[in-house]
């Protein structure tokens, strides 16, 4: 075998082997240096606009590390007097056109601009502030934009276009008049935005934030005449710990339940419970279709509200193929509403979700009964973290507690809803004729697990081979839809709008991709710890179908979307 010649270059005097890295930035990270960047995201295309990652080469020339491929023999320095001078000037220029009300900014402490300004010791801005006052678009129920906190790195634009294929925002105007805008500058709520919030995850500053509903929830909690119930989605438990002193991906459900009770919630539930309802209903729908064998088109999952909205906007003709099942959040809310129908107290239902699009789902007309929402408020994980901190609860030390009855039993199938492939795996567990443990474990290996954006599997359901697609990221969804339209056959397609599923939701605290994987792993180990793995084995299901749901399954658990409608606030 021929020896492959190793190639080296030098970074700050240290020889480094080049090993297929696409750009200098990746290689610099290998030697333990974290370069300052605003516009670099490994999952997005190279933009090269912030110019913070410039390095000096052996000839004194400057290269942007993000967009320069490593070459053998190259010698670069990452921290020279010139580079520091330029970086400081760039930061100063950015700060001069940036609303600098850091103390009252929702992103205070997690802002990259603030962090780099501190790292580079910027203590004076010599230019007049041209973006002193906020410039806000709060038309959306999911997100809030403040143009005067925008540094025009374009991360949100590329996320919205490249990963999500939504294209709600893009650049407009030139020079210092450049902005990020919707088409014709309409309010974001009137744009094709699906509310997924991935732009929030990409934004290095506080220019795009989660719409904050904290004070409304506190108000409800403070009212003694109101009974406040809450459900917590699976992906929340593995994402908030890091912000509160736990290790990334650690399952903190017990502590969350305890904290919510201390904050004044009267009843605390786990959305995994209603995920079991979704599994049963969706499996029925799929089984019927497979038995019919008439449908050309696959059945699409409907748990993800950003996906539903995307489909309404871009593929309205496919809406009849989207499952009529409500999302677990809305199923649970309907059940809880019915359960407290005879209560003398006014009731408010809150859902803690990893998701900004859920805020929109909650206000949709389809989910209103007599004009009242089933879910009154949706809090994202980020907001819950804020509330826990505000309450002063020492989260790390708090003892875990169990959720309330009568809806206190759940299964592993419901817990894994929070990660891409989870819904599919849960449905397959239900549909598999072989109920042995071996069969259960083999489902995990059909190809439905993993963080890849597109997964495909063929499984036997009864006598029939069923072809399944699992996609996360709306660009992947639309690519798969185009394949289907071109004639490929699928029986079931699970779509999650956020890459990796709800663990990467737009309402989750910021996380690296490694941390996101840990969140996924956290959910799978929670599944392992559950003594019931299959939704149909949840004893609560029988009670519900014979009780509240009797004769009302369709009314309470299914929905017919009216089509794309503008959100109202």
């Amino acid at each position: 075998m021929a020896m492959v010649k190793k190639e080296f270059m030098t970074i700050d005097g240290i020889p480094v082997e080049i090993n297929g890295e696409k750009n200098l930035l990746e290689l610099i990270r290998k030697v333990g240096i974290k370069m300052p960047t605003f516009c670099y995201h490994s999952e997005l295309s190279i933009y090269g606009a912030c110019r913070m990652c410039m390095v000096e080469n052996q000839w004194g020339g400057l290269d942007a590390a993000c967009s320069t491929p490593p070459k053998a023999g190259m010698q670069i320095r990452t921290n020279t007097e010139r580079l520091r001078k330029y970086r400081k000037m760039i930061l100063e220029l950015l700060l001069a056109h940036h609303c600098r009300d850091c103390t009252t900014c929702d992103n205070n402490g997690t802002c990259k601009l603030q962090d780099l300004a501190m790292r580079f010791d910027i203590n004076d801005v010599r230019f007049p502030n041209t973006a002193e006052k906020p410039l806000i678009d709060d038309s959306s129920v999911s997100i809030v934009r403040d143009q005067h906190k925008c540094i025009l790195c374009g991360d949100c634009v590329r996320m919205c276009n490249e990963v999500q294929n939504v294209g709600a925002i893009d650049f407009a105007h030139r020079g210092s008049k450049m902005t990020i805008s919707t088409a014709f500058d309409v309010p974001i709520a009137e744009s094709p935005c699906v509310g997924c919030g991935q732009c929030i995850a990409a934004c290095p500053t506080g220019a795009i934030l989660v719409k904050n509903d904290i004070s409304k929830v506190w108000k409800a909690l403070d009212d003694p005449k109101t009974k406040v119930t809450v459900q917590v989605a699976p992906a929340v438990r593995v994402a908030l710990g890091k912000e509160l002193g736990l290790t990334p991906g650690e399952n903190a459900m017990g502590k969350i339940v305890a904290a919510l009770r201390r904050m004044g919630f009267d009843e605390v539930y786990d959305t995994s419970t209603s995920a079991d309802l979704t599994v049963l209903e969706e499996s029925n729908e799929l089984a019927k279709r497979i038995a019919d064998g008439k449908e050309e088109m696959p059945l699409f999952s409907s748990c993800c509200p950003a996906w539903v909205r995307y489909c309404e906007n871009k593929y309205p003709e496919l809406m009849p193929h989207v499952s009529t099942c409500k999302s677990p959040m809305q199923m649970f809310a309907a059940v809880i509403r019915e359960n407290s129908r005879n209560s003398s107290r006014k009731s408010v239902h809150v859902a803690v979700m990893p998701c900004t699009a859920k805020k929109f789902e909650a206000v949709r007309d389809e989910f209103k009964v007599d004009g009242k929402q089933d879910v009154d408020y949706v809090l994202t994980t980020q907001e819950l973290v804020r509330m826990i901190k505000e309450s002063g609860i020492m989260f790390r030390d708090i003892d875990p507690e169990a959720v309330d009855m009568p809806f206190g039993t759940m299964t592993g199938a419901g817990v894994i809803f929070g990660v891409t492939g989870g819904v599919t795996e849960a449905v397959l567990r239900r549909l598999a004729s072989d109920k042995s443990n071996t069969a259960l474990m083999s489902i995990a290996y059909t190809g439905v697990r993993g963080m890849e954006g597109v997964k495909e599997a063929r499984v036997m359901v009864g006598e029939k081979e069923v072809r399944i697609g699992v996609v996360s990221g709306l660009k992947n969804a639309s690519d798969l839809i185009e394949r289907i339209k071109a004639g490929e056959h699928f029986d079931f397609v699970e779509v999650m709008a956020c890459p990796g599923g709800c663990i990467s939701g737009g309402g989750q605290p910021f996380a690296s991709s490694a941390e996101k994987e840990k969140r996924g792993a956290g959910l799978y180990s929670a599944d392992k710890l559950c003594n019931i793995k299959r939704s149909e084995e949840n004893p609560l299901m029988m009670t519900l179908y014979n009780g509240i749901l009797k004769g009302r399954v369709h009314e309470l658990l299914h929905v017919h979307y009216h089509g794309a409608k503008q959100e109202e606030n």
Partner: protein, 624 residues
């Protein structure tokens, strides 16, 4: 439709015969400058008058030549825009200047009917009358190669172009030369890109020819955007086929089948002439499939830019053609590898392509006889500013600034002192009298921190404020920045802000250093050429005219007397009789006083309009 080489050759012979027969010609300049001066009306009136007079005139090149016909043509830009509208009479070679509708009768009666010159329409300089165009000093010192036919042929006629040897170079490249031979000729000629960078064209073509990916594209950058520059426009309007032929040769050389011309929508006449030229070439079979039976296919498409200066940058230009926002992208990969539609692309500007047919026809060696060793050939410049003869000129590379300004340009207007010349537009820098003997070529200019750019020359005299010049160009660059990278978007915004306050008399100590610090950052960190060169005008004006900056900042004084906000108007108490006339005319109530006592001007309120100065019967109001 011509389907073979032989047919093209016969057509050429026919065209040449027809052109020869049409020895008497009136060429009315239909360049943008003369058209706005009314030359199209003059053209129509000439036609009407000649027909009325019974003088047979042909607008199209007549293929059945008969002796007495007079060719009446709309030509491209003659370059002497200062003296427009221009009318050229052939075969005498007379040039009539500043022609108006009122002159039409006389031109027809005397020149066309009797062959006499209308002397009062001839050009005069220092009392001397110049009958022939080529004898006028403005033309005499020029070497018109690329512009050789501009003004001499009907830009809307492919037959006229063929009659002067058009498409001969393409024919030679297509049938007699291999791709390597074409590229070798271009490389050996030393032709460098005329768009600003001066990159060797042959090297670019070699790199594209080497690429394995297909299809390949040939793109012509006609997005000329420097304020005051109109070289490319004149070529596109005056000799469109020449540039198209250059693109076709590039297509043969690199193996491309599609060419794109990216031209500003603000050049409607260029767009119209190019569209017409392409349609004619297609109709003749010079564009399309299986050209002249050679098996070579080539088509040319026109893309109109919406008028963004940054779209002259290669990657922004290709993005714009693709329908995307015209924003430069990071390089590598370069346009030669991943250009238009991500395919290998030859991207040259109009003037560069217009040089190609000459090189192929005459050979590299012949081409190198003009110009300097490292910058062979000629260069077209747009001469504007405080100079006697503004217009479009072409000189050998290496000609000195002095020859351009004083010999061709006729010196400073009104006999004022020469102060500086801005070369290379908003990306360039200024040169002062110390550089008057500097040869104009890529490398000499680079050495003094300036650049040839696309060829704009703005000549300035002692009444020009250099801080204001810097502000003007910075304002342009800031508006034209795409906004993508931080140093260009935010840095130019702040540089402009500082320059604006300096010319408004609000400059602060330290502003010059801050400008230079910003300039350093922008120049070294900006993403594309626009940003990297944006600070050029500021840096070079500070280098040569730092004292002007200092006078503005420290003394709140504009040495050139150009900055309105720095004018100081006061009333001389010794001369003022206290008549109050001035206080009544002042539009802002800045003048007050007691009757029969000297009045005073409140400098805070005064807007420096100067209305009071003219109204004072005692000449007591003065400006310093």
């Amino acid at each position: 439709m011509i389907a073979t080489r032989q047919e093209l050759q016969s057509l050429r012979e026919a065209c040449m015969r027809a052109a020869k027969a049409e020895s008497r010609k009136i060429l009315v300049c239909a360049g943008t400058g003369c058209v706005s001066g009314g030359s199209l009306d003059i053209y129509a009136a000439l036609k009407q008058k000649m027909e009325a007079k019974g003088i047979p005139c042909e607008v199209e090149l007549a293929m059945d030549p008969h002796e007495d016909v007079v060719g009446l043509k709309k030509s491209g830009c003659h370059g002497f825009c200062e003296m427009g509208p221009l009318v050229r009479i052939e075969p005498q070679g007379w040039l009539y200047t500043k022609v108006s509708l009122a002159d039409v009768d006389e031109i027809v009666e005397r020149t066309m009917a009797k062959g006499e010159i209308v002397e009062r329409l001839a050009y005069r300089q220092n009392g001397k009358i110049y009958e022939k165009q080529e004898e006028i000093p403005f033309y005499q010192k020029q070497t018109r190669k690329v512009l050789e036919h501009c003004g001499h042929i009907d830009a809307d006629s492919i037959y006229e172009y063929i009659s002067i040897g058009g498409y001969e170079a393409f024919e030679k490249a297509l049938f007699d030369m291999s791709s390597d031979e074409i590229i070798t000729q271009i490389s050996d000629s030393g032709l460098r890109g005329r768009g600003g960078g001066g990159f060797p064209t042959g090297r670019k073509w070699t790199q594209v020819a080497r690429q394995k990916a297909t299809p390949k594209y040939v793109v012509c950058n006609g997005d000329e955007g420097d304020p005051g520059a109109f070289m490319d426009r004149s070529i596109m309007e005056g000799d469109p086929h020449r540039m198209i032929e250059g693109m076709m040769i590039a297509g043969v050389a690199v193996g491309a089948e599609d060419g794109y011309i990216y031209v500003r929508a603000e050049y409607p006449m260029a767009v119209a002439r190019l569209s017409n030229a392409i349609a004619q070439a297609k109709k003749l079979g010079l564009l399309g499939e299986n050209i002249l039976g050679s098996g070579f296919n080539f088509n040319i498409h026109i893309n109109q830019g919406a008028g963004a200066f940054v779209c002259g940058e290669g990657s922004a230009l290709t993005a714009s053609i693709e329908g995307k926002r015209g924003m430069p992208r990071v390089k590598p990969p370069r346009t030669v590898e991943h250009g238009l539609f991500d395919k290998p692309t030859v991207l040259n500007n109009v003037e560069t392509f217009a040089n190609v047919p000459t090189i192929i026809k005459a050979g590299a060696e012949e081409y190198r006889k003009i110009g300097t060793e490292t910058s062979p050939g000629t260069k077209a410049f747009a001469l504007t500013g405080n100079i006697v003869n503004t217009g479009l000129i072409e000189v050998p590379m290496g000609t000195t600034l002095r020859e351009v300004i004083f010999d061709i340009g006729g010196g400073m207007r009104g006999g004022a002192d020469f102060k500086a010349v801005q070369i290379g537009g908003p990306s360039g820098g200024c040169l002062t009298s110390a550089e008057l003997d500097l040869p104009l070529d890529f490398d000499s200019l680079k050495k003094v921190g300036a650049m040839i750019g696309s060829g704009g020359l703005v000549v300035m005299d002692s009444h020009t404020c250099m801080v204001e010049v810097a502000r003007f160009f910075m304002n342009f660059t800031q508006n034209e920045s795409c906004g993508k990278c931080v140093p260009c978007r935010e840095g130019t915004r702040r540089m402009l802000e500082i320059l604006e306050r300096i010319v408004a008399g609000k400059g602060r100590e330290g502003d010059i250093d801050l400008l230079l610090e910003l300039a350093d950052t922008i120049t070294n960190t900006a993403l594309c050429g626009l940003g990297k060169t944006a600070a050029g005008p500021v840096v070079s004006t500070i280098k040569y005219f730092r004292d002007e900056y200092e006078a503005h900042i420290r003394e709140k004084r504009c040495p050139a007397g150009a900055c309105a906000k720095l004018r100081r108007i006061h009333i001389d108490p010794a001369l003022c009789k206290g008549c109050s006339k001035c206080s009544r005319i002042c539009p802002v109530g800045a003048i007050s006083g007691t009757l029969k006592q000297p009045f005073v001007i409140d400098p805070e309120k005064c807007i420096k309009c100067g209305a009071c100065i003219g109204t004072c019967p005692f000449h007591a109001i003065k400006e310093d």
